[in-house]
C-alpha cells in the first residue's frame, strides 16, 4: 500500500514537473522564436538607457529584488484595451494597436495629415512635386524625393520604395495569399493590374532613383483628396519578397521583376460565367496555378508569413523602431529611430522609449494612478472620465479633451413600413429628448450633432454658424410630432375611424388596408438600446402619439445581417425592420460617395444602408468630394448643402457625439490629440518633462 501511494505521488509530482517545464517561464532556455523575444529583454540592448544597463550588469543576484514601474527614464507607457497581435502591416487583420505600431514605424509619406485632418505635402521627404493635366482627363503627380532618406537599418529609401507598396498591395498574387489590403484604387490601370489582366500598372511610373509618378484616373477626377490619392509612402519590398524581386519600369508602367511575378498568368484571368461557380467547397485560390507556380506560391507564402510578424528586423521609416514584442503579455516596446528625418513640419520624436501595454477597462485608471502606465487615451464613458478628472484634481496628472469624429445614431430603413415616410422619421426625432439622452449616456461629456459629421472636422468648424442656421435641430416637440404623423396619413384608429387622443395605436389607409404605426427596432441590447427603451420606446408621449416601438434584441453580427439585408438568407434579405441603433466614425477623407446611391445595383449590394432613394441627396453626397483640391470653399459649400438636405430627409437621428478624454502623467508635456490624429502624431509631438 505504502509503495503504491508513494508511486502515485511520485507520478503526480513528475506530471507537475513536466507541465511546469512546458510553462515557458523566463528561466527556461529559448526553444522557439516566441521565446527569443523574451531572451532579448534580458540582454543589454544598445538602445536601452545606459544607466539601466549598467545597473543590471552590476546587480548582485543575491540582492533583494525590487521591481520599479515608475522612473523609467524618458519612457512613455501607453495603455490600451486592445492588445497588439504582432501582425503590423494588416494585410490580413485589423487590430487597432497593430495599426498604432504601423503608424509609428511607417512614415515619410509624400503627404501627411495634421491634427485637424488637413493633408500637407511632406516637405521633409519631398523635394519637388509636379502636377500634369493629361489629355485623357487624368492627372499625373510626379514626385521627387529628397536625398539622404534612409530606413532604420541605414539602407537608402529610393523612389522604388515609394511605388513598391502600391504594387504589392494591389498585386493579384496577394489575393492568392488572401490579403485584404488594397492600394492604388484611384490610379490609372488599377483594375487591370489588380485582376491580373496586365503585368504593368499603368498609373504607377518609376522614373529614376529619386523620381516616381502616379496618375489619377480620369474617372476619379475631380476629387478634393486627389493629392492624397496620388501620394505614397515607402515600403521595403526586399523585406517581404527578398532581394531577388524588384520593381521595374520600361516606360509603360511599373511591374514586378523576378520570380514573384511568375506566380500569375497575366492576361489569363476570366470572369466566371453565371452558374460556373457551382462547385462546392472552400474556394482554393491557388487552384489555377501550375506546379511551378505552386512552388513559387509556397516559397513566398512562407516568406510573407514570416515577414508579417517581424520585430527587430521590421523595417522602419517612421519615428520609432520595434525593439520587442512579447506574445505572452502583448507588450510592444518601441525605441527612437535616430534616422527618421522628421514629419512634414520637421518634428522629430524626443521620447526615447514607447511601451504599448494591454489594459482592462475596469482597472486602467488604477494602473495610471499607480504609475503602471503613463498614458490612457480615448476615455468616453462618464464614470471613467469622472474618475480621471478626480485623479487630475488630486495632482500628478493632466488631461486633454477633444470631440469624437463620429456619433451614435438611430438608423432608419426608408423603404419599408412607417419609416418610409419622412414625416414619421421626423416625428420620432421630435419625440426623443436628445439633450436628455446625451446627458444621461455620456455623463455630460458629449454633444449633439445634426448630421453625418464630427464636431472636430475642419469643414464643420468653419461652417458651423451657417449650417446651424439652416437645419432643424428636431427639439423635443410631441405636439409637432403628432401633426407630422397626421401629415403622413396616420389619422385613423384601429376601427378605421378618425384618430382621437387616447385611441392607442395610429393607423393609415394604405391601398384599402389599415397599416398600423408600429416601428420594428432591431437592437443589440447595449447601453444605448437600454436608454432608448426608456426615453423613446417607453416614453408616454410616444405612446400618446399613437406609435408603438417593438424592440427585438439580437447578437450584433446578426443585427448587421438584418441591416445589410444579407442575400444569403431570405430572413435577412426580406426583413422589415425599420430602425437600428448603431454608431459610426469618420476617416480623414470625408467622402460620402454612394452612401445614398440611387443606383439599383449598388443599393442591392448594401450601399445606401438607409435605402433612401432621393436623387438630390444622392447627387449632393457624391458631389462633395468632386471638388477641385485647391477650392476648400467649394467643398464647404457642398458640405453645407448636403447636410441641410440630409437633415430634412433624416435617414438617421444622430444621438450623441462623445467628448473624448486622454489622461496622462504630468511627466508628459506638450501633449495634444484630436480624433483626426494618429498615434504617431500624438507621440511625436509629446515631450517628457525634464
Amino acid at each position: 500500500m505504502r509503495k503504491k501511494i508513494s508511486f502515485f505521488l511520485l507520478l503526480a509530482l513528475l506530471l507537475t514537473s513536466v507541465l511546469a517545464g512546458c510553462g515557458g517561464t523566463a528561466d527556461t532556455p529559448a526553444e522557439d522564436p516566441e521565446e527569443v523575444v523574451e531572451d532579448d529583454t534580458t540582454e543589454e540592448p544598445a538602445d536601452v538607457p545606459d544607466e539601466e544597463v549598467a545597473d543590471d550588469e552590476e546587480e548582485d543576484e543575491d540582492a533583494p529584488f525590487v521591481s520599479e514601474y515608475v522612473g523609467q527614464e524618458n519612457t512613455l507607457i501607453f495603455g490600451d484595451t486592445t492588445g497588439a497581435s504582432g501582425d503590423w502591416e494588416q494585410f490580413w487583420t485589423n487590430n487597432a494597436m497593430d495599426a498604432a505600431v504601423l503608424e509609428l514605424t511607417h512614415k515619410q509619406a509624400t503627404m501627411e495629415w495634421d491634427f485637424e485632418g488637413a493633408p500637407h505635402v511632406n516637405e521633409t521627404a519631398v523635394e519637388n512635386l509636379e502636377i500634369t493635366e493629361n489629355e485623357d482627363g487624368s492627372a499625373t503627380y510626379t514626385w521627387t524625393i529628397k536625398d539622404g532618406l534612409v530606413w532604420s537599418d541605414g539602407s537608402p529609401i529610393t523612389a522604388e520604395d515609394y511605388v513598391s507598396g502600391i504594387l504589392l498591395k494591389s498585386a493579384p498574387q496577394m489575393v492568392k495569399f488572401k490579403s485584404k489590403l488594397q492600394s492604388g484604387y484611384y490610379l490609372k490601370g488599377f483594375e487591370d493590374f489588380y485582376k491580373g489582366n496586365t503585368r504593368v500598372f499603368e498609373g504607377v511610373r518609376l522614373i529614376d532613383d529619386k523620381t516616381f509618378a502616379l496618375t489619377v484616373d480620369a474617372q476619379h477626377r475631380p476629387n478634393f483628396y486627389e493629392q492624397v490619392n496620388a501620394s505614397s509612402a515607402p515600403f521595403k519590398l526586399s523585406y517581404w519578397l527578398g532581394e531577388e524581386n524588384s520593381i521595374k519600369d520600361d516606360g509603360e508602367g511599373c511591374y514586378f521583376d523576378g520570380e514573384f511575378a511568375e506566380m500569375i498568368n497575366y492576361g489569363a484571368a476570366e470572369e466566371p460565367e453565371e452558374g460556373e461557380e457551382g462547385e462546392e467547397g472552400e474556394e482554393d485560390l491557388t487552384a489555377d496555378l501550375t506546379p511551378e507556380q505552386q512552388a513559387i506560391f509556397d516559397k513566398y507564402n512562407e516568406m510573407i508569413q514570416k515577414a508579417r510578424f517581424g520585430v527587430e528586423d521590421w523595417p522602419s521609416s517612421g519615428p520609432y523602431t520595434i525593439k520587442s514584442f512579447d506574445e505572452q503579455t502583448k507588450e510592444v516596446v518601441l525605441v527612437i529611430n535616430e534616422k527618421y528625418p522628421g514629419n512634414f513640419e520637421g518634428v522629430k520624436p524626443s521620447i526615447g522609449t514607447v511601451v504599448i501595454q494591454e489594459v482592462q477597462v475596469e482597472t486602467a485608471m488604477d494602473q495610471l494612478k499607480t504609475g503602471q502606465i503613463t498614458l490612457l487615451t480615448s476615455q468616453m464613458s462618464g464614470d471613467e472620465v469622472n474618475a480621471g478628472l478626480d485623479m487630475v484634481d488630486e495632482g500628478g496628472f493632466d488631461y486633454v479633451t477633444y470631440p469624437r469624429a463620429g456619433y451614435g445614431l438611430i438608423d432608419f430603413k426608408c423603404d419599408v413600413g412607417p419609416t418610409r415616410f419622412v414625416e414619421v422619421r421626423q416625428a420620432i426625432a421630435k419625440l426623443l429628448d436628445r439633450d436628455d439622452f446625451v446627458q444621461k449616456f455620456t455623463g455630460g461629456f458629449g454633444s449633439i450633432v445634426h448630421g453625418p459629421y464630427g464636431e472636430g472636422q475642419w469643414f464643420y468648424q468653419e461652417t458651423k454658424d451657417e449650417l446651424l442656421e439652416q437645419i432643424d435641430p428636431y427639439s423635443y416637440e410631441p405636439a409637432e410630432a403628432v401633426a407630422l404623423l397626421e401629415q403622413a396619413g396616420y389619422t385613423l384608429n384601429e376601427a378605421g375611424e378618425e384618430y382621437q387622443s387616447g385611441d392607442g395605436l395610429r393607423y393609415r389607409d394604405t391601398d384599402g388596408e389599415l397599416e398600423p404605426l408600429i416601428i420594428k427596432w432591431s437592437s443589440s441590447g447595449n447601453e444605448v438600446s437600454k436608454l432608448l427603451t426608456v426615453l423613446l420606446a417607453e416614453n408616454p408621449d410616444v405612446v400618446e402619439a399613437g406609435i408603438k416601438i417593438e424592440e427585438d434584441q439580437m447578437d450584433f453580427t446578426e443585427l448587421l445581417n438584418y441591416y445589410y439585408r444579407e442575400a444569403s438568407d431570405e430572413k435577412y434579405a426580406s426583413n422589415d425592420y425599420n430602425m437600428f441603433n448603431l454608431a459610426t466614425n469618420f476617416n480623414k477623407t470625408y467622402d460620402r460617395t454612394d452612401d445614398y446611391t440611387t443606383d439599383p445595383e449598388k443599393v442591392a449590394l448594401g450601399f445606401n444602408g438607409n435605402y433612401i432613394l432621393d436623387e438630390e441627396l444622392d447627387f449632393l453626397a457624391n458631389d462633395i468630394v468632386k471638388t477641385d483640391p485647391n477650392d476648400p470653399d467649394a467643398f464647404k459649400e457642398k458640405f453645407v448643402k448636403f447636410i441641410v438636405k440630409w437633415n430634412e430627409l433624416l435617414p438617421q437621428i444622430p444621438l450623441y457625439s462623445n467628448e473624448i478624454h486622454d489622461f496622462f502623467s504630468d511627466d508628459i508635456v506638450e501633449y495634444q490629440n484630436s480624433s483626426m490624429a494618429d498615434y504617431s502624431m500624438v507621440i511625436l509631438y509629446a515631450r517628457m518633462a525634464d
Partner: protein
C-alpha cells in the same frame, strides 16, 4: 487491466467524435455572418464594388456557402491530420494562437494548485482533528465566505487594498513595462505581478478541498483501527499522519488528480480583471468574435483532457486501493 484500458480508449474515441459533431453543428448554428464580421471594418476604407468583391471572396474562402455536413467533414478531416485550421480574427494557425495563453495558464495554475493544496490539506487535517472547536468553526466560516463572494468582487477589493492603497502589488499585467533584468529577476517580476491573482485563486478554492479533506479525515478518525492505534500507545502524530491520513487520502487523491488536470483550464474572470493572457480569456474572446476554429480547438482539447483525466482517476483507484479491481 490492459483490456480495460483498450476498451476505455475506444469509448473515448467514440465520445470524442460525438462531441465534435455536436459542438461543430452547435457553433455553426449560431446566427451571424463571419465573413461580414471580418470585412466590415474595411468598409470605410473601400469603394462599394471593392467591398462587395472582398465580401464575396471572404465567404468563399471561409466556405460559408457549403452545406454544414460538408464543412464538418472538411474540419474533422483536417483536425485528424493535426491541422486545427486558421483563426478568423488573427489569420494565424490556431495552434500558434493557443500556445502563448496555454503557457501562461499552465504557469499560473501550477502555482495556484501548489498553493491551494499546500494550504487546504494541512488545514483540512487540522480542522478534522480539532473538530467542533473554535478553530474549526472559524475555518469553516472563513473558507465558505471566500467561496461565496463572487470572484470579481474579491478581485476588485484586493486590487483596491493591495495595489491602489498599499501599492504592494501591481494592479494588473504579467510583467513590468519594458522590463530589463536577468531571467531570475524576470521570473520574480512575473511572480510579483501574479501575487494578487494567485491569492484570489487560492482563497476561492480553499473551501472545497478543505472541507473535502476534513470530511475524509473525520471519517477516517472515527474508524476502529484508529482506536486500536491509540490503544497501542502510538503517538498522536503517528495516529493522524500514518494511519488516519493515509486512509483519508483515498478519496482525496481523485480530487487531486482532477486538480492537476485542471492545470490547462483558464479562469476567465481573474484573467480579465488582471489582464492575463490566458486560456479563459482566449476562449471568451474567441466566442465573442465567433472565431469558431479557435473555440472548437479549445473545446476539443478540454474534452480530450477530461476523458484522459477520467481514465487516470479510474486507474488510480485500482492503484491506490487494493479493494478496487480495474478490469475489462
Amino acid at each position: 487491466m490492459f483490456k480495460y484500458i483498450v476498451k476505455r480508449i475506444f469509448y473515448m474515441i467514440f465520445v470524442f467524435f460525438v462531441m465534435s459533431l455536436l459542438l461543430f453543428f452547435l457553433y455553426n448554428l449560431i446566427p451571424g455572418d463571419r465573413a461580414m464580421q471580418e470585412v466590415l471594418p474595411l468598409k470605410e476604407r473601400l469603394r462599394p464594388e471593392q467591398f462587395q468583391e472582398l465580401y464575396e471572396q471572404t465567404r468563399k474562402e471561409m466556405g460559408l456557402d457549403d452545406p454544414l455536413a460538408m464543412r464538418y467533414k472538411r474540419w474533422i478531416t483536417n483536425v485528424l491530420k493535426g491541422d486545427l485550421g486558421e483563426s478568423d480574427r488573427q489569420k494565424k494557425p490556431v495552434i500558434d494562437i493557443i500556445k502563448p495563453p496555454m503557457r501562461n495558464t499552465i504557469f499560473i495554475n501550477i502555482f495556484a494548485i501548489v498553493l491551494a493544496l499546500g494550504i487546504t490539506i494541512p488545514l483540512g487535517i487540522k480542522t478534522a482533528v480539532k473538530k467542533d472547536t473554535t478553530f474549526d468553526r472559524v475555518v469553516q466560516v472563513v473558507t465558505i465566505i471566500g467561496y461565496s463572494i463572487p470572484v470579481f468582487i474579491t478581485a476588485l477589493v484586493f486590487i483596491y487594498i493591495f495595489a491602489v492603497l498599499l501599492r504592494w502589488f501591481p494592479v494588473s499585467g504579467m510583467k513590468t513595462a519594458n522590463f530589463v533584468g536577468t531571467k531570475w529577476e524576470a521570473f520574480l517580476d512575473t511572480l510579483w505581478h501574479l501575487a494578487l491573482p494567485l491569492a484570489i485563486l487560492t482563497l476561492t478554492s480553499l473551501a472545497g478541498v478543505t472541507r473535502y479533506v476534513r470530511a475524509a479525515m473525520v471519517d477516517s478518525l472515527s474508524m476502529d483501527y484508529i482506536k486500536t492505534a491509540r490503544a497501542k500507545g502510538l503517538s498522536e502524530k503517528t495516529v493522524i499522519y500514518s494511519h488516519a491520513w493515509r486512509n483519508a487520502l483515498l478519496p482525496v487523491i481523485t480530487l487531486i488528480i482532477g486538480w492537476i488536470m485542471s492545470i490547462f483550464s483558464g479562469a476567465f474572470i481573474i484573467e480579465s480583471m488582471f489582464s492575463l493572457n490566458g486560456m479563459g480569456r482566449l476562449y471568451m474572446d474567441s466566442l465573442n468574435y465567433k472565431d469558431f476554429n479557435v473555440v472548437l480547438a479549445i473545446q476539443m482539447f478540454y474534452i480530450i483532457i477530461s476523458l484522459v483525466g477520467n481514465l487516470i482517476v479510474d486507474l488510480s483507484y485500482g492503484l491506490v486501493d487494493p479493494r478496487v479491481r480495474v478490469d475489462g
